[in-house]
Amino acid sequence: MQRASTLGAHPQTSTGLDNRKLLMWLFLASECLFFGGLIGAYLLYRSKVAVPCENGDLATCVFPVDRTVNGVAYQGILDIPFTSVSSFVLLMSSLAMVLALAAIQRNDRWGAQIWLLCTAFLGMTFLAGQAFEFTEFYREGLTLNTNLFGTTFFVLTGFHGAHVSVGVLILLSLFVMARRGRLTQRNALNVELAGLYWHFVDVVWIVIFTLVYLIGT
């Protein structure tokens, strides 16, 4: 984590809330609008806009729920059981994150290392699942430029994946810090901030999974 607060020696703030924590909350608030924009574009195109219907016309209808229409992949290509498993993995990573924070807060450095690594590992498992899903779709003929479903799906879930990747990088950095003994109870805030980010990314995935996978099909 970035130790950006250089006035760390300044013990008190006007609100009593740590500067870095406030920064993280503001950043996450801003991220809500970032994902809001991406999800908005997806929903707009899913529900409103003309897509080729089964008879081949351009007519106003929702994304076809079928697997393919006229040989082009659509919503039906989504594999709900598979993604449910990877979503479960991501949810469990949040649990591991909580345990990592709890460990460092009681100065259990060994526990913190284990749970940080565990969180990162679960995050990477989720990413591997996404990589598998993307290549699978690509093989079935769904790419960024196949149709609006491909465009909005890949960009939305891709940006989420990028966020998870950044999170994994942060977790691994914290793990290395912990290995070198630079992470202690005193700077447990580093883990707490990483946790805030990680849980946020997790919550965003719950929204995406619900809107794109569960309601979408």
């Binding site: 130790r3 250089t6 006035l7 703030t13 991406l38 940006f159 950095s173």
Partner: protein, 641 residues
């Protein structure tokens, strides 16, 4: 310019000075600026850089005005004209007014709230360097953005899609000009976001004891509102720019009509950002004027809570008016009416502010110095700009005005006549605080009057042209339409503005060379920044002030007699900064942030990544490595000594 180099001031408390000296000794000369994390130095770098971009955007404007001065103008061809007005708009909005406001945030916010620095000094440095990198990156488009060749073959390469980059035009625009534009705006977005997070946290968390929210100067309030607008508006344009780039670089379908996409999505996203953006440009100006008026009328700001809450109300309401930019796109009568009403409503808090400013001047003992002239000009121009803005909210009338000079004119009325006037007023007002020299008053008056007249001669004829039906963004017009006279007037006015800017530059040079040092409090100011020496020492306040009231510094200097008139506090009662510093007692350590060059390194990453997207993906990896190296170095270096 930092306090550590001031020779003539007597030493302050030992601890602080030792730290300040140590900081100054770490790096010298240019390096001390490159590695600086001092908000005052960063603020000055912001100001100087933004002013350089202002000259660039101004020259573009002058070429545009020369082209339009006469019918069938032939100075530039239509393609070059498109590129010029696109860069003029983009430069002035994103590289001039926003960073000039950021310069004032940097210089003033810690001083006004009684803090030693911002909450995240290195993030602040990163914000500046990223702004510089983004600005230079976008300007690099002039060199190679044209599909027909480089600038050395006579091909101007800048983006050509207008400052709001409407799709599908910007998707199909050949060459890399639009890629430069979109990637450049993304980089500048990172810079503004970093700044906004920093100032929001600083204002919420770093206030001196007793500096409650309702003891904060109005400029601080407006900075807080602006920061929140940036925090929430920037991600929206970020998404839109990514969508545009995906369409351009990877053939995605966001705005591809053949695949069922709709260009209206871009317009909604752009204006959902774009209208809060207008207030991002205007609210800091309102804050500056709300500081100047009380000082020069020697009265507290009239109706302080009303000005605060109307500013906050404007910030909230700015989210519900975006579609008034889109009346003619066929949203339907209900949507148009709703946005028409919300746009009319936003004029209410704006009007409240105008009356409060007038109320501040009313009955005050006014000293007609240059800062006040600019503030008064601001009020007058704001009234015209605001009222013409209300005209646009009325749907049927806006249908007629869409894409005419009657849009261009009120927009400039607000951005030049309001924002830029206030920013210049602020420069005259706070120049002595940060340089130790007052700007020359006679040259200042010359600057104001030539700019004020030049401004009105430039933009009021554009109102007439718009009502006559002259469309915007056309490279020329035929004879016999009656446009010639008004266009010639506008061109003459534009050159008068240019002359006034030269007067300002001359004034700055002359004043900086002057041997006369400004006092700590040359205007008899009201806010905390005037309580410390000019220029302020690196640690700002030798002792963190204890605040008791709004306009605290004024109340340290004056009490009221029974008729409510200010009477100077008898000698000994008024504690000036110097006396404060000599006061015995608690001088604990002053923790100054250490200088760091990692923010600069990190800020070099994004433009390299952006070049990678245009030219060679290998550069993306190089840029990412640079960025990560900078961020890790930053995260791992010890933050304070």
């Amino acid at each position: 310019m930092a306090g550590a180099t001031i020779g003539q001031r007597r030493p302050t408390i030992g601890e602080a000075l030792r730290l300040a000296r140590r900081e100054a000794a770490t790096y010298r000369g240019v390096w001390s600026w490159i590695a600086t994390v001092d908000h005052k130095r960063i603020g000055m770098m912001y100001g100087v850089t933004a002013f350089a971009f202002f000259l660039m955007g101004g020259i573009e404007a002058l070429v545009i005005r020369l082209q339009l001065a006469t019918p069938n103008g032939g100075i530039v061809d239509p393609d070059q004209y498109n590129r010029l007005f696109t860069m003029h708009g983009t430069t002035m909005v994103f590289l001039v007014i926003m960073p000039l406001s950021a310069a004032f945030f940097n210089l003033l916010i810690p001083l006004m709230i009684g803090a030693r620095d911002v909450a995240f000094p290195r993030l602040n440095a990163f914000s500046y360097w990223t702004f510089l990198a983004g600005g230079l990156f976008m300007s690099a488009s002039f060199l190679t953005g044209n599909p027909g060749g480089t600038i050395f073959e006579g091909k101007l390469g800048a983006p050509d899609g207008g400052w709001f980059g409407y799709v599908p035009l910007t998707v199909i625009s050949p060459g890399s000009g639009i890629d430069y534009w979109a990637l450049g705006l993304l980089i500048l977005g990172v810079s503004s976001m970093a700044g906004a997070f920093n100032f929001a946290v600083t204002i919420i968390n770093m206030r001196a004891p007793g500096m409650t929210f309702f003891h904060m100067p109005l400029f601080v309030w407006m900075t807080l509102a602006t920061s929140f607008l940036i925090i929430f508006a920037m991600p929206v344009i970020t998404v839109a720019l990514f969508q545009l780039l995906f369409d351009r670089l990877f053939d995605a379908n966001f705005f591809n009509v053949a695949a069922g996409g709709t260009p209206l999505l871009w317009q909604h996203m752009f204006w959902l950002f774009g209208h809060p953006e207008v207030y991002i440009l205007i609210l800091p100006a309102m804050g500056i004027v709300s500081e100047i008026l009380p000082t020069f009328s020697r009265k507290p700001l009239f109706g302080y809570p009303f000005v605060v809450f109307s500013g906050v109300a404007i910030a909230f309401m700015s989210w519900g008016v975006w579609a008034h930019h889109m009346y003619t796109t066929g949203l339907g009568a209900v949507a148009n009416s709703a946005f028409g009403i919300s746009t009319l409503l936003i004029a209410v808090p704006t009007g409240i502010k105008i009356f409060n400013w007038l109320g501040t001047l009313w009955g005050g003992s006014i000293s007609l110095r240059t800062p006040l002239l600019f503030a008064a000009g601001f009020i007058a121009m704001f009234t015209i700009g605001g009222l013409t803005g209300v005209m646009h909210s009325i749907v049927p009338s806006d249908y007629q005005q869409q894409d005419t000079y009657f849009v261009v004119a009120p927009f400039h009325q607000v951005l030049v006549g309001v924002a830029l006037f206030a920013l210049f007023g602020g420069m005259y007002y706070w120049f002595p605080k940060f340089t130790g020299r007052l700007l020359n008053e006679r040259l200042g008056q010359l600057h104001f009057w030539s700019m004020f007249i030049g401004f009105n001669v430039t933009f009021q004829p554009m109102m007439v042209l718009g009502l006559m039906g002259m469309p915007r963004r056309v490279a020329t017009y035929p004879e016999g339409l009656g446009f010639g006279l008004w266009n010639m007037m506008a061109t003459v006015g534009a050159f008068l503005i240019a002359a006034s800017i030269l007067a300002f530059i001359y004034n700055v040079i002359v004043s900086l060379r002057s041997k006369e040092w400004a006092e700590a409090d040359p205007w008899d100011g009201r806010t905390l920044e005037w309580s410390i020496p000019s220029p302020p020492p690196p640690y700002n306040f030798a002792q963190i002030p204890q605040v008791h009231a709004l306009d605290d510094f004024w109340h340290r200097k004056y009490v009221e007699n029974e008729r409510g008139e200010p009477v100077p506090v008898v000698a000994g009662g008024a504690q000036t900064a110097e006396e404060d510093e000599e006061a015995p007692g608690e001088h604990h350590d002053i923790h100054l942030p250490s200088p760091s060059y990692f923010p600069l390194i990190a800020s070099l990453g994004p433009p390299v990544i952006a070049f990678g997207f245009i030219y060679d993906f290998a550069l993306v990896a190089v840029g990412a490595v640079v960025l990560l190296f900078g961020l890790y170095g930053w995260a791992l270096e010890p933050a304070a000594e």
